[in-house]
Amino acid sequence: MKEIMAVIRQSKVKQTMEALADIGVTSVTIHNLNGRGKQGGNIMECVDPLMSTDVECVSKIYKFPTPSSMAVYSKLTKPVFWVPKSLLDIVISEVPEDLVVEAIMKVNRTGNKGDGKVFVMPIADALRIRTGERGDAAIV
């Protein structure tokens, strides 16, 4: 039994669910929450057109630039610390985990920063409350 946690864009949830249904994964828990990645959030280009949105390029100048550290120096910049994301929680027993991970990544890959992360972790035990089944039988 494996748990797959995928942090993805909120706009891609519907497509991801369809792709997962195609490979036989129908039970998914969705959390809508906020996240931030290595860049520490977003800098909105429309608010401050002079501020480079390419953080990699800025990091050559500053030591450790993130939207919050930039906010200290620049009064113009309106950084977004938290980006709305969806967390999909999937517990699988029969479907191979590689198949699920590939399906999620294929749908969500746009090539831009903020595509998300996928984590795979072990599940010790599972229990179906309705029938009291334990282990793999609870998930299938």
Binding site: A6, N34, G35, W82, M105, K113, V118, P122
Partner: protein, 104 residues
């Protein structure tokens, strides 16, 4: 790799997040959750609050960085009173970046 789930006071969220960022852990996920602990909530006079608002932070870090992350979170969220929260650590077998498809 380990996942760190920290349940902290909402008013300490900014302190903890900025401290984590300063320590080199900018990437995390945040959820506003409701929970209760051993004391089954909080009673103020005649009013009983069963579930109290908390912030849940999720961070995935390397095995050797777990202790550092835990100390940063505890140092910045500790008040010494009931309701400071908990930190849970569990294993992550594999991790992928969706943009590149590579493992972390």
């Amino acid at each position: 790799m380990k996942i760190v789930r920290a349940i902290i006071r909402p008013e300490k969220e900014d302190d903890v997040v900025l401290a984590l960022e300063g320590a080199g852990f900018p990437a995390m996920t945040k959820a506003h959750v409701f929970g209760r602990g051993k004391q089954k909530g909080l009673t103020v006079g005649p009013i009983h609050y069963d579930l109290l608002p908390k912030v849940l932070l999720l961070l995935v870090v390397n095995d050797d960085e777990v202790e550092k992350v835990m100390s940063v979170i505890t140092d910045n969220s500790k008040t010494g009173f009931i309701g400071d929260g908990k930190i849970f650590i569990s294993d992550i077998e594999r991790a992928f970046t969706v943009r590149t498809g590579e493992g972390l």
